[in-house]
Amino acid sequence: MSDSTSPPPYETLVLLLREKFEVDPQLIDEQATFRGLDLDSIAVVEVFVTLSEHWQVPLDDSAATPDLTLADTAAMVGAALDGRA
């Protein structure tokens, strides 16, 4: 569950990739794609489910493709948070 002290979506995503998916931190940047980080399509949906739970916002699983960049993904979470506000 997020609150006002939670880090912004991109930082949350980075933390998730490092801790849950054991992605090499050196490979992570905003323009990296999930495919580039060696995450397959199922893993990307798992990222979406986890972000959706963390931020308590709905995310469209149909958008969860390996070619998404991390910046795109963080933007989706941000848009969902804006819609909730």
């Binding site: 397959d40 399509s41 199922i42 949906v45 489910v49 959706s52 699983d61 969860a64």
Partner: protein
């Protein structure tokens, strides 16, 4: 409460490499990494869901020491015929002619829906004993060239006998939670063959007659729905998650099972499944695991047990029960038509 269990699998084992050799564009590594499946069982042409259901039910009745029941509920996506239901023929072949018998369609959640129905029937006083079956012949509705489905699904049947009991007896069904969301119907569907698009319609092709699944949507929905349903069902009897000693999820995909169990905090040694060897057997998957676990004495009677499933519809459900004190002679029996041994034949690439 559960008083007996049994299961049946066709003898033909189809490995991932068999599928590749048959022309499917995939690999053993790809299938294992994305599904956790190494092989599945497929029935020979001519074998129906009813055949597997009868064999599993006979084993379950023997396990329960029962020769009669008051009701037969068969959960299946793949009945022997569109009309009539398969359950009455299954009942007659078991010597149970005369009892009420019906099919129940909730796809991969079907067994838990049927378990809930049978349990409610007993609680209402309408029956003392109920035969609950989950049986499938998915090989009959698969497009052999569709990598999204043909690597995943297998055939099989499992059954349990329910009888009236006391809440403190091992095997008691303590709580159930069921749900559905028809807005997601298109995520898992055979488009043709029903009233909306008859199978004889000129526009109907193979893709319409066979199962189609949107794997990405199904994964997300399955994880969310099973996790939430499991939490709800345990809240009823006020069972803390850490008190669950046996977890059996619908054997949809190993990564879905891991995701749900991890979210719930189920310890690895308390998770039971068979997806590696039999694939996703839809409504049959949970009772197949129950029979195997019981046959191998892997869980102590009375252990708090959590069952959860998700399937087409969309449907989902969970059950909280205590592990039954039953004797199951074998993890599964086999059913094959008389004639050449099925295990000696090359896998058929059926075209529905």
């Amino acid at each position: 409460m559960i008083a007996g269990a049994g299961a049946c699998l066709p003898p033909l084992v189809v490995t991932n490499d068999d599928l590749v050799r048959a022309g499917l564009d995939t690999s053993d590594e790809w299938i294992r990494s994305r599904t956790g499946i190494a092989s599945r069982r497929w029935s020979a042409p001519g074998v129906g869901t009813g055949d597997l259901a009868v064999a599993a039910s006979a084993a379950a009745l023997a396990s329960a020491g029962a020769t009669a029941v008051d009701l037969v509920v068969l959960a299946t996506t793949t009945p022997d015929h569109p009309c009539p239901a398969t359950a009455p023929q299954v009942a007659s072949r078991l010597g149970l002619s005369g009892v009420p018998a019906f099919d129940l369609a909730a796809v991969c959640s079907g067994f838990l829906y049927a378990l809930a129905a049978g349990d409610a029937w007993i609680r209402s006083g309408g029956a003392r004993t109920v035969l609950v079956i989950g049986a499938e012949t998915y090989s009959a509705i698969l497009d052999p060239d569709d990598r999204n489905t043909s690597v995943i699904f297998g055939d099989g049947a499992g059954a349990v006998v329910l009888r009236r009991g006391e809440p403190e007896e091992p095997g008691a069904v303590v709580a159930v939670d069921l749900g559905s969301d028809g807005d997601g119907a298109g995520h898992i569907m055979v488009r043709a063959g029903g009233s909306r698009l008859p199978v004889y319609a000129p526009s109907v092709g193979l893709a319409d007659r066979t199962l189609r699944m949107n794997g990405r949507q199904v994964y997300g929905q399955a994880v969310r729905r099973m996790t939430n349903s499991a939490r709800r069902v345990l809240a009823g009897p006020d069972w803390p998650l850490e008190s669950v000693g046996a977890f059996i999820g619908h054997q949809a995909n190993q990564r879905i099972l891991d995701s749900v169990a991890d979210r719930l905090g189920i310890r690895p040694e308390h998770r039971f499944g068979n997806i590696r060897d039999v694939g996703n057997t839809a409504a049959a998957s949970i009772p197949l695991v129950i029979a195997q676990v019981a046959a191998e004495h892997l869980v102590r009677p009375g252990t708090r047990t959590l069952l959860t499933a998700f399937g087409g519809g969309l449907t989902w459900g969970s059950a909280a029960l205590t592990w039954p004190d039953i004797t199951v002679e074998a993890a599964f029996t086999t059913f094959a038509l008389p004639g050449p041994r099925e295990e000696d034949t090359v896998p058929e690439r059926k075209t529905p």
